[in-house]
Symmetry: C2
């Protein structure tokens, strides 16, 4: 059964980013928010191709490894793909180089003119959709072939899915930092603990991992 | 050296209470927010006088025991004392019966007409002050005799002290629940991780304990 999964970085005070701009869509604190994740052995291997064995191997790495397992397709917002940063470049192919780390169909939500799909090395194909999130989710679910669908960022896209109660498995990586400003994760999000089981765990890095798991697909 | 300490209950989504009213100043979810704390052996012994040894003895209890150690005086808001619930009762002596659990001077911040101090059994004396929080803190520090000053609730009072950066030791007990609404802890609170050291720990109950410790008194 396909599940809809989401992994988010958030600060102790509930911000997913501070001061995002088109030129810096993740904001200036993104490195601090994701530091424990990018330090893991799994991330270094999967994203940087670093097979030296460097990187952390504790609790953070366990979650990082799970992150990459069992995803059959992905949905992301236009900003995460970079359409807001490079609105006038019809040849823009995302931030991830010739061989993006997804290896699956990736559905990019956009409200601008449709673009042709882009096939990349390594099995990633970007599709651009101007449609209701439920319709895109149905298409992504079909494309996942029984595996799971990940909803990536940005936070605007994530919040759309959370508010519509479409996420079965939510994993928060709460960095032990306080941003004091930014985009708030929780605005308008329903009380997920009524529909999902909650777990909490602290990693060696001080990062708090919180998971919400829906017992049955809605 | 006297330190200013604060212990707060908060949900995963950063709310300290939901739907508070004068008749129910802690709101309907207070029991869920504080469940892990009130289940501890220390709480049961110190608040209920239950010396049977019942109650949890894990991580939550370690923090609960620390909560009661080394406090020389306390500051709280009018609402926490009950002045908003019983505004017209000049004989109101708080919620805690004849022998309140504080055992120290307690400074109640109020904007209404001054009341005479009230001495209770067990060493608690309630003083009522209509003054700037810095002045009340100075008086409470003197009264603490070298021990620490706790700033209690409600959240309005807590936020005043946090926004003024007057808290040296902040302990958050993050319950693994989502409220979806209520009074937000973090509004206008500075980025405490720049001035304080942060620790995170998860208890057997799933409660996340977060501490912020200022290395040197400001």
């Amino acid at each position: 059964m396909t599940r809809v999964r989401m992994d988010l970085f958030v600060s102790l005070d509930g911000y997913t980013t501070s001061d995002p701009t088109p030129d810096d869509p993740m904001g200036p604190d993104w490195g601090r928010l994701t530091a424990a994740y990018t330090a893991t052995r799994t991330f270094r291997e999967r994203i940087f191709g670093d097979t030296s064995g460097a990187g952390t191997t504790g609790v953070d790495d366990t979650y990082a490894a799970a992150f990459f397992e069992g995803i059959g397709s992905e949905i992301m917002g236009a900003g995460m793909f970079g359409l807001h940063t490079f609105p006038d470049d019809p040849d823009w192919k995302g931030w991830w180089g010739d061989r993006p780390p997804f290896g699956t169909p990736v559905y990019v939500l956009t409200r601008t003119a449709p673009r042709p799909s882009i096939s990349m090395d390594g099995g990633t194909t970007f599709h651009f959709r101007n449609a209701a999130i439920g319709d895109v989710l149905a298409e992504a679910t079909d494309a996942a072939g029984g595996q799971d669908v990940r909803v990536g960022g940005g936070i605007g896209t994530a919040l759309e899915f959370l508010r519509a109660d479409l996420v079965d498995d939510l994993h928060l990586m709460v960095a032990p930092i306080v941003l004091g400003r930014g985009l708030r994760l929780w605005d308008g999000v329903p009380a997920l603990d009524r529909s999902h089981t909650v777990t909490t765990e602290v990693a060696e890095s001080g990062t708090i991992h919180v998971t919400f798991t829906r017992e049955q697909h809605a």
